[in-house]
Amino acid sequence: MAIGEPMKIRAALSGDTTEIKVLMNHEMETGQRKDAKGETIPAWFIQNVLVTWSGKTVLSAQWGTAIAKNPFLSFKFKGGTKGDKIVIRWVDSRGDTRSDEAVIA
Amino acid sequence: MNLRSRWVMFASATLVAAACTTSPSDEEISSKATATLKDSFKAAGQAGLDRLDQDDTQRACSSLSGKTPPREIAAKIEAANLATVKYPADGKLLGDWKNGEKIAQEGRGKQFSDDPKGPVGANCYACHQLSKSELSFGTIGPSLYQYGKSHGNSVEVQRYTYGKIFNSEAFIASALAAVRREQRTPRLLASERHNEPARIRARSRRRFGGRFAAARRRRTSATKRRIVL
């Protein structure tokens, strides 16, 4: 299944600001689409996103069906030094979860 | 003869021999292409391999490789296709325009992915502008906006229009190939006008020249402003 696919994370320090860009692998089904037979494809989407920097939460998000398939998230926060660990974790509507790490470059 | 001259002779002979090796002729490539096509497709849904069989018009147009046909060939193609046009027995060529709009909008039909029992549309909007309100129109074919206003709706115009919809090749050979180097003008092409009665041409001249020319130019540039997705 899809859970095995890693996120692509880029964490870059510029001055005193760290910019995080992450591309996530997820179908993000809204529950509105119908398949070829005319049956509704059940909803399946990321509900929670948590980003931590050296253990401290820098972003916490609650997502819904308006977020696109294979979502791309980009944000900045003040702080960070090269080599610090960034951990990104999501939980979806089926209760599946995925966590990936990167290092600030 | 010294060694150097012998080498020069040998090299030239080899070059000449290489140049004389014949590469396949155009006909050979054409027949290879047709054979390649047959081996490269498989029947699916409602589309059988017979769809790859060309009729005379398709074959003639394909052989032009994108060039405009010479007048005699174009005339032959047009005549053969004109013969296929069947007008309604009761002579009524104008129908319900609302149904026409529906047919023009419908893009499905005849694809191997389409339900054979499903709608089969004319897909006019893929290539043409028609109504004022529909912004999602293509530009492969000329704009048909205000067609009735500019052409009138006399019996001759109705018969020409009906015939062109029935079989577009009846009035301009290789119309859909449309591979001219120069840009098409918004007006009818000379060869299209060739088939019109003289008084319609005269009316077009009155409408498209003079004070209407500026309006036409403005409309053309407005339609060129497009939404790029």
């Binding site: 294979n70 | 859909l176 790029v228």
Partner: protein
């Protein structure tokens, strides 16, 4: 409000549609530029790289010895020189056909198994070929297209591709040239490249494969040809067929000199 304020307000309203039409185009252009960052195609590239390096198939071997034309295992710049003639197959091959060849010869898959899922559909039906294509093509990003026509079979493929480009057939008399033979044309609101010009061929060919947002999948050039023929009302184009390779050779060579910029993102 005095009369001039009303007039100004009314004029502003009247001008709004024109102004918004222009700003809509600008905004969509900005949106497209923003989409370049975070192109989901990168997910396919990552998966493809993993598949390239993983020991798979009956022979449990990776694809790292696969020769894409520049020597076994040389991936960088390979796509910019494809299609090309391969002596071991005695055939001109595009990237996808060559990947199938390597999966069969190196990894022991049957031809049918290697080709069984060329176009993915969702999380449960992912295509390995699409992922591998994304990876290999990404390694040609920035490289100038240089498809040579040296071997007689390469020349023949080009000439057959050219003939097929003008082949009018099916229920609608469509040829490739019907839609791709003039500048500044579009189907509905989708712009069409003029593939008969170098500039058009370069713009088109250097941006496939691409993440097709409307499909939610990364689509390759074989897919593009297959889907064009479907809409031309032709029967189904066979994956890796000679016609697909011939047309790809014709278009890729016409794109020579263009800088390869894939995998890209499209509507």
């Amino acid at each position: 409000m005095n009369r001039f304020a009303w007039l100004a307000a009314f004029a502003g309203l009247a001008c709004a549609p024109l102004a918004s039409a222009q700003s809509t185009t600008d905004e969509i252009a900005k949106y497209r530029a923003a989409l370049q960052d975070g192109n989901p195609a990168e997910l396919w590239e990552a998966r493809g790289e993993a598949l390239w390096k993983e020991k798979r198939g009956p022979k449990q071997v990776s694809l790292e010895a696969c020769d894409l034309g520049k020597g076994p295992g040389v991936v960088k710049g390979a796509y910019a020189e494809l299609p090309r003639y391969f002596a071991d197959a005695d055939r001109v091959m595009d990237l996808e056909t060559r990947l199938v060849w390597c999966m069969v010869r190196l990894q022991g898959y049957s031809d049918a198994d290697a080709k069984k899922n060329p176009f993915g559909n969702g999380a449960d039906k992912r295509s390995d070929l699409e992922a591998l294509t994304a990876y290999v093509t990404s390694e040609s990003r920035g490289v100038k297209m240089s498809v040579a026509l040296v071997h007689p079979k390469e020349v023949e493929a080009y000439r057959i591709g050219e003939k097929l480009f003008y082949f009018r057939g099916g229920t609608h008399d469509f040829a490739c040239a019907t839609c791709h033979g003039e500048n500044d044309k579009r189907i509905r609101l989708q712009d069409l490249p003029n593939l008969m010009t170098t500039e058009g061929a370069q713009k088109a060919y250097t941006t496939w494969p691409a993440y097709r947002v409307s499909q939610g999948e990364l689509r390759t050039f074989e897919w593009r040809l297959y889907d064009c023929f479907r809409q031309q009302r032709f029967p189904e184009l066979v994956y890796g067929s000679d016609a697909a390779i011939a047309l790809t050779t014709y278009l890729a060579h016409n794109a020579n000199g263009g800088v390869y910029d894939g995998p890209a993102i499209k509507r």
